[in-house]
């Protein structure tokens, strides 16, 4: 059994629908509600009722996977403009794999998490732009790393590499007809970072 926690700001006024659809896509592609996973969702409706800190504390210091489908800045992840993850509760992510599609968190929060014992962090160090004409392509690229990690038993580093490869494939498909969108895919790819343990595997999170 693997504990998996997803924070999803699905009611965000700008990107709520996109983030919600990303969660559903991950549920399908990674079969997150099968017997191998104990999956919890903290969404916009529930984040105050079920604070993230108490949810993580219920894992009793066991390793877990965390996926952030929410806005971010250098230091924090947000739901509904409230910081739900920042330096103050970063120690809760000890022994986790932290995967964020949020903007900017690789600039500072990623380092803080690793310093506090997070196993591996994958996220972005700049703004992440979404193409409204090619949402699926951008979503597929953003989720590719965690999908490979969960479905293909790849190491954290190899999953990250597969994400880069996925971005390159989509850039190459797109640029002959739409170099502007391909340019934004490249910008998103260039913002990707991996920190911490590059060799961890999904089995490391079995409790």
């Amino acid at each position: 059994m693997i504990n998996l926690l997803v924070a999803c700001d699905d009611w965000d006024v700008n990107l709520g629908e996109y983030l919600g659809d990303t969660f559903y896509k991950l549920c399908d592609s990674c079969d997150l509600f099968n017997n191998n996973f104990c999956t919890d969702l903290i969404d916009t409706e529930s984040y105050l009722k079920y604070p993230i800190d108490s949810k993580i504390n219920s894992y009793n210091s066991s390793p877990f996977l965390f996926i952030a489908l929410a806005h971010g800045n250098d230091d924090a992840i947000f739901i509904k403009d409230d910081e739900i993850i920042n330096e103050a509760n970063s120690a809760l992510f000890k022994d986790s794999l932290f995967y964020a599609i949020s903007c900017y968190t690789a600039k500072s929060l990623g380092d803080v998490l690793i310093k506090e014992g997070c196993k591996t962090y994958i996220g972005y160090n700049d703004a992440v732009i979404i193409s409204l004409l090619h949402e699926d392509i951008f979503r597929d690229c953003q989720t590719h790393g965690i999908e490979r990690f969960i479905n293909n038993n790849l190491s954290s580093y190899n999953s990250f590499s597969q994400m880069i490869t996925k971005y390159n494939t989509e850039i190459d498909n797109l640029y002959p007809t739409d170099a502007v969108t391909a340019g934004y895919l490249l910008a998103n790819r260039e913002a990707l970072e991996i920190k911490g343990d590059q060799n961890c595997l999904l089995v490391d999170f079995i409790i």
Binding site: L15, D172, A179, Y184, A187
Partner: protein, 207 residues
């Protein structure tokens, strides 16, 4: 010439259709691509109403009282687009031009100055230089690509930032012309894309 010929708009109150400059320009670039406006107001109106057309403006500095001056015309064009090439034609010595006007020309990318008495071959050379630069400038290429899209497609939201700012292709076009942040960002992305494709050997320099 391999490249497409833009419109050459001569705005000059002392020239006539039979003047050497007009005859030479028409011989070199074809009749239909060269227009003369003797009134600066009419020339400015034509340019503004055809802002999406690739245009090189040959602009006199001094006009009769009651007509916008060359500086005024230059500024009005530059308010709307950085992508039009403007060649300033003057009978005055450079030293006789107001410093403030010179600063406006220099800081807002006037392509060149030439004296009214200059050899017409030299002027043709300047126009050819402008045409070449239009073909290789990233912002001009992006503008041209956007203009190939149907009007209704250009009005649809195209990209979205994390803050919820949505930009259509028309917004991007405006940004390119006005050299706003979004315009500059897209130019940078395209240049980085070109380098990335070369580095990954998806394209080569002799293609």
């Amino acid at each position: 010439m391999r490249y497409s010929i833009p419109k050459i708009v001569v705005i000059h109150d002392d020239l006539t259709e039979t003047d050497a400059l007009l005859v030479t320009l028409r011989a070199e670039f074809k009749d239909e691509n060269v227009v003369l406006y003797k009134k600066s107001k009419d020339g400015l109106e034509y340019v503004i109403n055809n802002i999406s057309q690739k245009t090189i403006v040959i602009l006199d500095l001094n006009f009769k009282a009651g007509e916008p001056s060359g500086v005024d015309v230059f500024e009005e064009i530059r308010k709307r687009t950085a992508l039009m090439y403007i060649i300033i034609m003057t009978a005055s010595n450079l030293g006789d031009i107001e410093n403030t006007d010179l600063i406006k020309f220099i800081n807002n990318d006037a392509l060149a100055f030439f004296y009214s008495t200059a050899d017409t071959k030299a002027i043709v050379g300047l126009v050819k230089k402008s045409i070449y630069q239009m073909e290789v400038r990233v912002d001009s290429v992006i503008e041209e690509w956007i203009m190939t899209k149907p009007v209704e497609e250009r009005e649809k939201p195209f990209i979205q930032t994390q803050h919820g700012d949505k930009y259509s292709l028309n917004d991007i076009l405006k940004g390119i012309r006005e050299q706003s942040e979004i315009g500059k960002e897209i130019e940078k992305n395209i240049l980085k894309l070109a380098i990335d494709l070369l580095m990954r050997e998806k394209e080569s320099l002799n293609d």
